[in-house]
Subunit: 271 residues, 3 copies
């Protein structure tokens, strides 16, 4: 039974819990590729996991099974899900962690029926006792309907930007990556729908930015810039620096975006 | 030469030392599954590694080889071990790191004879030069007696709980996991031998707990509770919180357990 | 397409960027062994990565491909490299990260021509879009000249020790590992060329050390000692302690080495 199963969790590695999940997976599929994405999601930070998932899930081969376990509701009545997109499978809790993918691909969702997994289920360790066994059934080509049933009312927390009276839009920082890049809830696809103006203007508490750059290196050392990240989100970055620290901004902070079509070609930035 | 070898160390990954161990393993067994458990054991914390091992070792398929290198005595006369349990192999130093497994399974222990490994052995890097080569010999189905000899007097540090004059028992916190759960040296097996009373009462410096819960979610938000962890140890936990922070407790702190068979069904907790 | 590809980066794992690189690699080579070395190199610390590489690269089987992405210049005109040593391949940026290997092995270097990779290349994510695809071409036995061209003027930052007027040499700390060992820019090979005197004397700000030890365990508990590390570099270490903390030393600090051939056999150390 070859095939690829990836793992993203907030377990850390030190306690051996993810080791237990791997043990279950190798026991059922000794020749599978079990791939660590990360176990360092901030504990219970479902938003962070949802964002991280976007960066890798569709880079993997067709039929890869992505397990995500960031699950503050484990042991409650929250549902366990299998989601089938055209190319991949997603397995994890129904708490919004998959919801950033919903607008990007068609999909079908199924609620895992624990009683049909044929295993004892610890109330606190669904990664090991529910999600890993479900992934093994998918890998073994079992019919999803034999252990799960269709559902339609999924949890979601996609953040929409708001249009303001002056024609600008209110964005917010939805993620700060390891390098201090500030990722905004605005994508290249949103921008193309609005006309792809290159005269993007961002306003935030400590300054403003004018115009898009293609790359970090197109900015001077320590210059703050605005660019698309590698998943297509707009980000505020700093060349050889940490934009979040420099601008003292973080998740939830507001940024206004407007599009200036008339102005001269002046360049400006905040620091 | 297929097969599965797991790795738990306190090396971190940043220095490339665990990379060297993996290089040796892949050189001897290019198609083996080499599985990271963790490299983030606190440096030299043999107790933590011993506890973590319990959480995963017996979830892996039969004949999996578990390498554990948390080894403050490397380069001294402490022995290197191969331990054969009915299902698995354990390879690492004789410093107690395997001793929590001893009461759980029959086993035979062997002292690795470095001179029979056919390699140069650095005095400071037994992970690479002793334990990885020994694992490769096991994977290659070599007779363990060809490179190791039976031993019987192993290091152990299992913590026993003490019975007090008033009929209670003195437990202690033996581990705090990433989520702040406080694990005690008392197992479901101990409890069953004592009659499986559901009226467990725990006393500790900042309060007490009464009764077992099945799951985090059976407690209210931020409520502190008492439950079995997924390896069968008793733990003090907090629903959507960090029990260690909330109760300001850590490894070595005392907890008294008693069993109340008469009282009314009142529920109480400390915070 | 079997084969082994290792990964060392400063990406961390939390953002899913290394997940994306793995996705590209598995998409091109589903049965390859993709091996994590570390993703915890300090952001942009090319020196640290260069040193870490020495600890593992030559332990892997012949034809292993080592990808290294610590790349502050991504998006600028810095070149992407494939380096062919007699036994291995190295893939990553031309910023000195491979330069500690140059004096140790013959090699040929090639500049990757991005336009010949047949993929869209994000200006900010060469790990995914340049280095992973180049590694796949090597794994697939494509002629390196079909996507890269020979280069000869590579970036290098090897630190040479200096001879001083009094016959001593000025060394410096080039790396501090997780255990606080202080690694110096002086190797066993340098020492053998100078006559292999066992009467090495090290002077530093807070004291001195006299003579080499074979192992940590040859020193008393908490004793500071001088020994060869497992890659052949001279290091200052502390038995069951952290030399960097104890001596308050770090990267860049100066150490003088001299060779005393006349003196009595006194032993001394600094703390």
């Amino acid at each position: 039974m070859p095939g690829i199963i990836t793992l993203m969790t907030d377990f850390g590695t030190r306690d051996g819990y993810i080791g237990a999940v791997k043990g279950v997976l190798y026991s059922g599929a000794p020749s599978a590729q079990i791939v660590d994405i990360t176990h360092d999601i901030e504990p219970f930070n479902v938003h962070q996991a949802a964002f991280t998932l976007l960066n890798y899930y569709d880079r993997f081969p067709k039929d890869t099974i992505h397990i995500v376990v960031v699950d503050p509701g484990v042991g409650t009545s929250r549902r366990g899900l299998v989601i089938r997109t055209p190319e991949h499978y997603l397995v994890g809790p129904d708490n919004g962690v998959f919801s950033l993918i919903f607008p990007r691909a068609g999909f079908r969702a199924y609620k895992i029926q624990e009683s049909k997994l044929g295993r004892e289920v610890s109330p606190t360790f669904h990664g090991r006792d529910v999600f890993a066994p479900a992934a093994l059934k998918i890998l073994g080509k079992e019919d999803i309907n034999s252990f799960a049933e269709p559902v339609y009312d999924l949890q979601s927390f996609e953040k929409k930007y708001e249009k303001k009276a002056d024609g600008s839009y209110r964005l917010e920082v939805i993620h700060v990556d390891r390098f201090g890049n500030l990722i905004l809830n605005y994508t290249r696809y949103d921008w193309e729908r609005m006309g792809s103006s290159e005269k993007i203007k961002l306003h935030f508490a400590r300054g403003f930015l004018y115009g898009l750059k293609d790359t970090f290196g197109a900015a001077k050392e320590k210059e703050v810039l605005c660019m698309w990240d590698s998943s297509g989100f707009l980000q505020i970055a700093q060349n050889r620096g940490n934009a979040a620290d420099t601008l003292q901004m973080g998740v939830g902070d507001e940024v206004r975006i407007s599009f200036d079509r008339l102005t001269s070609n002046k360049k400006a930035h905040s620091v």
